[in-house]
């Protein structure tokens, strides 16, 4: 298989979006948890924010990250005219 400019562009865009989304994942998971004690003084929908993030907030962000990645990459595939699988 040959590596054309097209491949390089595609891969660079993929890496960029992956890095950005992983950074969001990292902040939501580790930075927010690290400051959970401090965040718990803030109330959110009747929950202390630190607890809410662990129980629901971060989960919703995770699913949003995955949804966005699938949408972005599937659009990128189409834009670059990729052919694979049964489509």
């Amino acid at each position: 298989m040959q590596t054309s400019q097209k491949h390089k562009d595609y891969w660079r865009k993929n890496l960029r979006i992956t890095t950005i989304l992983l950074a969001i994942w990292f902040v939501v998971t580790f930075v927010v948890s690290y400051y959970a004690r401090e965040l718990s003084t803030i109330m959110f929908f009747g929950f202390p924010l630190g607890f809410y993030m662990g129980a629901q907030g971060s989960l919703i962000i995770y699913v949003a990250i995955i949804w966005f990645y699938a949408r972005y990459m599937n659009a990128l595939d189409k834009e670059y005219g990729a052919r694979e699988g049964s489509d």
Binding site: M1, F47, P48
Partner: protein, 678 residues
Amino acid sequence: MIDSSAQMRRYYALYTMSFFAFILSLGILERYGMPPRWIGYAFLFLTIILYATIGVMARTSNVAEYYVAGRKIPAVFNGMATGADWMSAASFIGLAGTLYLTGYQGLAYVMGWTGGYVLVALLLAPYLRRFGQYTIPDFLGARYGGHVARLVGVFATVLASFVYVVAQIYGVGVITSRFVGLQFEIGVFVGLAGILVCSFLGGMRAVTWTQVAQYLVLIVAYIAPVAMLSYKVTGVPVPQVMYGQVLQKIETLEHKISSDPAEVDVRHLYLERANTFSARIAGLPESLVEERRLLSVQIDRLKSSNVQMRDVFALERQRRELPKTPDAAREYWDSLMRQAAQRGEELIHHVESFPGKDEAASNTARLNFITLVFCLMIGTAALPHVLMRYYTTPSVREARSSVFWSLLFILALYLTAPAYAVFAKYEIYSNLVGSAIDQLPGWIAAWGKVGLVSIEDINRDGILQLAELSLNPDVIVLATPEIAGLPYVISGLVAAGALAAALSTADGLLLTIASALSHDVYYKVFRPHATTQWRLVVSKTLLLVVAVLAAMVASQKPATILFMVAWAFSLAGAAFFPALVLGIFWKRANKAGAVSGMVIGLLVTMYYMVRVQFDKIPWLGINGIGMEPWLGIQSTSAGVWGVAAGFLTIIVVSLVSAPPSREIQSFVESVRSPDFSR
């Protein structure tokens, strides 16, 4: 059976409706006097027959269908199947109970077991699907050239999956013995039959479609009781939203309970008991002799007075049960001391993050929380039975969407679990604590009989204080229908859901082990020229052997099973994650690096686990190997060290040895981006 999406949707909509009709009709029959035991049987056998029917209908003798369901599973259904595959007996039964007992700290499981899917989606699933073979060791073999990487992968797959499948089969035995009254060992083998009818005939194809059915059963069973409880407490049947309000009520109750003088007194008594045991341990071996003498004196005194013989027998049993040797006594008293000390501790406030006596203890709790989240996430992204599921979609695009659907379906349970814990806690704190011990509701006695609930009136005031009640985490989900006063049919539903969770995970795991052994070891390494028919025969035989082995281990009721499940995550994470991710994202990673990285990651993880958890391994004759944890990190998070060591080793060893060949490099290219040539 045609795997077309629209048709399958119709089938499963019909199926869900008939399931609801089934529950409803059982509910009506119960009102007309159907005995609970029959309801239990109806749920157990009807669901197993249903899964078996799907299994038989989807039987196959085609290799691609057997291993990867012919790569014809639409994203949504693959998502549901992954959900059922993923959510095990531990998620279904144990998670809410763990959250009940530990409050905020338990959220590490909720975050870890969901956040791992971000890593699956971004770093692994689309690339594995583009690679498009059959197993995870397949990828390692192709990427790192040759049999060594493949075989190390097979070893780690079998190690992590076998422990996990034993735990599932054990769960099946527990559920059938409690709800249907079968003997534990018989329950294990009934469950085994339920597992085998699916995976044996139809492999991945049958397992997938059965898992879709099992997902629907388990999610209905999980949400129904807590929605009813939420309706009872708040008037709105959406527990995931309403439990914020209840959480505030719990905080008020927590303050009331912890300032109650009787409660303070009870906790004080437990601490005193812990001190007694610690004094006895310090006084060994004389204290053991002394203890036996004291009991004998007491028995003689009682015998000469005219008390009831029952009291004498109780004391005699106590004397008989005293440990025989000082070593056994140390172990026995140590566990009693820990129990008492735990019950004497301050009440855990449900929403408080990282509780601890002082700043340092709180920081250690935080470190453990974060490392556990890390290990569970990496483990999720490395367990072969989950990753394999993404080989079954028709295209890379569907694989990406499929991860989204997987997590969405998984969230239905994981967003509910914390609410489950909170509602159950509210019921117990507000209705149970402070009531008279001779008037407790029936479920306490019922679950006390199987040893999941125990009550001790340590201050002898006839009133139940919170510290006097001890609950096994499993009881929260299993007993919630009774705690909330719901009809028995809901209990039967919960049992069917737990069974579905255990069976579906066991199916996926067994198939993973059997494929690793038959495809990777037998076909790829030993008999590359084996006919397809023969390969399937080998695979089915191995499946049977592994299943029977796992059931035999499970029927021994191994005590350390829960620890071992948590370890499976650390082991899988350390073995696979660095090698897979670097294999895709770093072309320079080579065979020597990957193999040494996987081995060292595994070894470091095992070393840490064993030395932190055990001081001795009697059956190997090893003593005094216990060590202090590094930075206070518990053994369940051993993967932190293993994953770090794995990444480091792969990078260093790869850099000092020759870069991989041209073919391998272009292989990496082919996995990274789609084919644009046409």
